[in-house]
């Protein structure tokens, strides 16, 4: 028997309202995904589907409706309430009509069974689907975590810092490769389980235990003990490892070998000390230069007016000799302070060694043998041969003295050798200014008394001497240091008491070819005619230069600084040459030179300076100065230079 469509249609609206009310009542029983605003529509859809099914069981698919309800988020209690409301709807609708009540309830039961079955199947499927999604998401997250951990593990394992993990009792649980390398162990198996104390120097153990195990977080330096017992300094950073609950479970300690850093620090301090000494000595040398120039100049002037056979002349010769010795000393000081650039040419140090030895050989007693071991294919260097010769002389004289006792001569051997060397960063890194690359090595080795370790640290400081009062100025090795450093090289010393000493000089190799040596200068006090502006802030120097030039036939104008020089120079008309000092108050030589050039583009300027190595004089040459004369002045050379450049005007 078919159910009447008209009655079903009439009841459909009431059923929809009833289902919506049930769904609203149980709104919180549904999943979050089912929005309350959807409930009225859902109630209507279910009511329509149900009434159509009652009318024509082939017309609908209650299982699919149940699946859809589950997908939307209808909760189990809600779907049961919906099914109950549908059954109730049939009972109410066909109350008093038993002929239709039975078929209607049968149809309702079929609909609800299929609805609930579809619902439950979808709920199970959704659970499985969600669990599978969760599994995939977690699996993907764990995989990412695993990859990240792998990278971090690799980073920790290959860190250049030594890393040590211990438990709270101080027993090693893990170490990385750098730790094994620092402490000299072959594998982690040797170390794991060892007590922390075993890695520290004897008197450092209580402190290490205290700071690493009890404080939890510490930075500092400790003296460690290698596997072979050797001590070394390490910078330490320790921290507690905590679990997720915040409880301490171990200690992580990171180490950096401090030996190299300490050595570099010492090297820097030494370089700074030498630099400070250089500045001090440089200042003194500069002032003495000026004084000696003045004294020597006046002595030369007086001597020219004094009969050669007079007592006065003989005394003046002594004064001149003393001035020359003083000049020699300041020249050496200037080598140390690197104020003298010298004249650099491309040379072979083999030649320098041979020529120097030729000079020195006769000063060595026969008991001391001299051997040369020179590399035939020695690379060339760019250097001042005279300065390098000075270096070798100083070293050889020291070697000779080290093999000589006062009043007696010991047997010994001096060996001078040369070779080519390619130096890596590890070798040159400890010298502040040295760079890796190709070098030429010169070694001067003696079999003398050797140098005590405590003296080696201050070997190159000026006026430090091991020769006592008997000989030596204490400037020999300071000069060596200054010259070699000025040539971008460095020096190593290997020595021990009783075992002799070896000095090893390293100078950078040059790829330039040898040059032709310049011709020797002419001699004689050159005369000339013309007007010369002499500019120097030292009144005595100014006076000497002025008197020499006047005596040589020039008209001389003088100025005490750059500003006064500009006044005297005016437009420059009639001035053939300006003799210009570099370091002056008010307006320095460099600035004065620029202003002079502005006033007269072809002005001829002869630069005088006691500092040829700082680059200023060279820069002025590049900008058009005609020549540089180094202080202390050699008056003959000065007169020759003036004559040459005035005549060229």
């Amino acid at each position: 028997m078919s159910l009447p469509a008209s009655r079903l249609a009439e009841g459909q609206k009431a059923l929809a309202e009833s289902l919506t009310a049930r769904l609203r009542d149980l709104v919180f029983e549904n999943r979050y995904s089912l929005h309350p605003r959807r409930l009225a529509q859902l109630g209507t859809e279910l009511a329509v589907s149900f009434t159509r099914f009652l009318q024509d069981p082939a017309a609908g698919d209650p299982a699919a409706r149940g699946e859809a309800a589950a997908r939307e988020g209808v909760g189990p209690r809600s779907i049961l309430a919906v099914a109950e409301a549908m059954r109730g709807f049939c009972r109410t609708l066909f109350e008093g009509d038993p002929a239709r009540m039975g078929p209607a309830l049968d149809a309702a039961e079929r609909f609800c069974s299929a609805l609930l079955q579809g619902f439950m199947q979808m709920v199970e499927a959704l659970i499985l689907q969600d669990q599978e999604r969760l599994r995939r998401a977690l699996s993907s997250a764990l995989e990412k975590q695993s990859r990240d951990l792998l990278v971090k593990n690799h980073a920790v394992n290959t860190s250049i810092n030594g890393i040590l993990l211990t438990d709270l009792d101080g027993k090693v649980t893990w170490v990385n490769a750098s730790f094994l390398s620092l402490w000299g162990y072959g594998s982690a198996d040797e170390v794991v389980g060892m007590p922390l104390a075993d890695f520290w120097a004897e008197d450092e153990r209580p402190r290490a235990a205290e700071v690493l195990l009890s404080s939890g977080g510490w930075r500092g330096e400790l003296v460690a003990r290698r596997r072979d017992g050797g001590p070394f300094n390490v910078e330490v950073s320790a921290s507690i490892i905590r679990n997720e609950e915040g409880a301490a479970v171990g200690i992580m300690t990171s180490f950096v070998d401090a030996t190299e850093r300490k050595r570099l620090q010492a090297q820097v301090i030494q370089a700074q000390k030498m630099e400070a000494l250089g500045q001090l000595a440089g200042g003194i040398a500069h002032d003495f230069n000026n004084l000696l120039t003045a004294i020597g100049g006046y002595v030369q002037l007086v001597m020219e007016r004094t009969p050669r056979d007079s007592r006065m002349h003989k005394d003046l010769v002594q004064v001149q000799a003393a001035v020359d010795r003083g000049t020699g000393l300041t020249r050496q000081l200037r080598f140390f302070t690197r104020q003298t650039a010298g004249v650099r040419t491309v040379i072979s140090l083999n030649d320098t060694v041979r020529e120097t030895l030729e000079i020195l050989r006769h000063t060595f007693p026969p008991e001391i043998g001299v051997r040369l071991q020179l590399e035939p294919a020695l690379d060339l260097v760019e250097a001042d041969p005279n300065q390098l010769s000075q270096v070798l002389i100083n070293l050889c004289v020291n070697a000779r003295d080290a093999m000589t006792e006062p009043g007696q001569v010991r047997r010994g051997t001096l060996v001078i050798s040369t070779s080519n060397a390619i130096l890596a960063e590890e070798r040159v890194g400890k010298y502040c200014s040295a760079r890796p690359g190709r070098y030429v090595a010169v070694r001067v080795k003696d079999t003398g008394a050797g140098i005590p370790a405590e003296v080696q640290d201050r070997l190159f400081i000026p006026f430090v001497t091991t020769k006592g009062m008997r000989s030596g100025t204490g400037l020999g090795l300071a000069v060596v240091y200054g010259i070699v450093t000025n040539h971008e090289g460095f020096i190593d010393v290997r020595s021990a008491p009783g075992l002799g000493t070896e000095f090893e000089l390293m100078l950078p190799r040059t790829s330039r070819a040898r040059e032709t040596a310049p011709s020797a200068p002419a001699t004689g006090l050159a005369r000339g005619r013309g007007t010369v502006l002499v500019v120097d802030d030292e009144q005595q120097i100014r006076e000497i230069m002025s008197r020499v030039l006047v005596d040589c036939g020039y008209t001389v104008i003088t100025a005490g600084d750059g500003a006064e020089a500009l006044d005297r120079f005016g437009t420059g008309a009639g001035i053939d040459l300006v003799v210009l000092d570099l370091v002056m108050p008010n307006l320095g030589g460099k600035e004065c030179f620029a202003r002079l050039r502005e006033r007269r583009g072809d002005v001829r300027v002869l630069v005088t300076t006691g500092h040829t190595s700082d680059g200023t004089a060279r820069e002025m040459m590049q900008r058009g100065a005609v020549d540089i004369i180094e202080k202390p002045l050699d008056l003959k050379e000065f007169a020759r230079a003036v004559a040459r450049h005035v005549s060229a005007a």
Binding site: H35, G73, A137, Q145
Partner: protein, 262 residues
Amino acid sequence: MEDNERIASIADASKPNAGRIYDFVLGGNHNFEVDRVTAQQILRMIPDYPQMARLVRWFLGEAVRRVAEEGYRNFVDFASGLPTVDHIHQVTPPGTRVIYSDVDPVTVAYGQEIIKELPNVRYVVCDAAKPESILASPLPGQLFGRDRRVVFGLNGVAFFLRDDQIAHTMKTLYEWAEKGSRLYICDSDQEATRVPREQMEIWERMGQPFYFRSTRRLQELVAPWGVGQGFKPMGEWLGVSMRPEDKKSPYADNLRGAILEK
């Protein structure tokens, strides 16, 4: 917490996790036995937690539908959770551009999997307390072009943020957005002093402290955003009322939501 630690803790089925517990009380299947046991303990303390969680989620759908009907097509949502059903891209017209975000990288990884075939939808890691990490990135420009008339979502996250964090987030979003932008937000209208200590501790133990505040205080914090229709109870927004048997604690009933305006 670092990403990896968070992932490890979420992936660890031996310990309860706040996200998975939330999923459980919402009726989801993304949880483990340990979460369900802990959830039962929480439900003893806060029996209407499931109702509260549903109201929060439904308010999202409600707010999004309303602003979408007004024509808004650019959304930036914070603390989005899983965009499975009834989330922004599903209840807005096609072509709507959505940036979902969450502080939990596992949720984000999962979310990215879900939205991977949607050209106008992105999912990124972002802490709702630091929205500048999204705003300063190229992402808004790539998705919205120069249009900064947007809708921001801070649904169900205010009670996990301190007052200073809320103030910072609101100011940052306000300064970035164009006039006319909207922001939907909900929070529990609850004086912290009236919440039993043991209830606060439950959240703290899960690593997600709960910050209670009054709606009056929240209104101060959201300034200079305008409050639009004001902070209203969820029942008013959603057209549902809680049965007496659903009112097992004051939390769900005290939820207030608003759609703010610039």
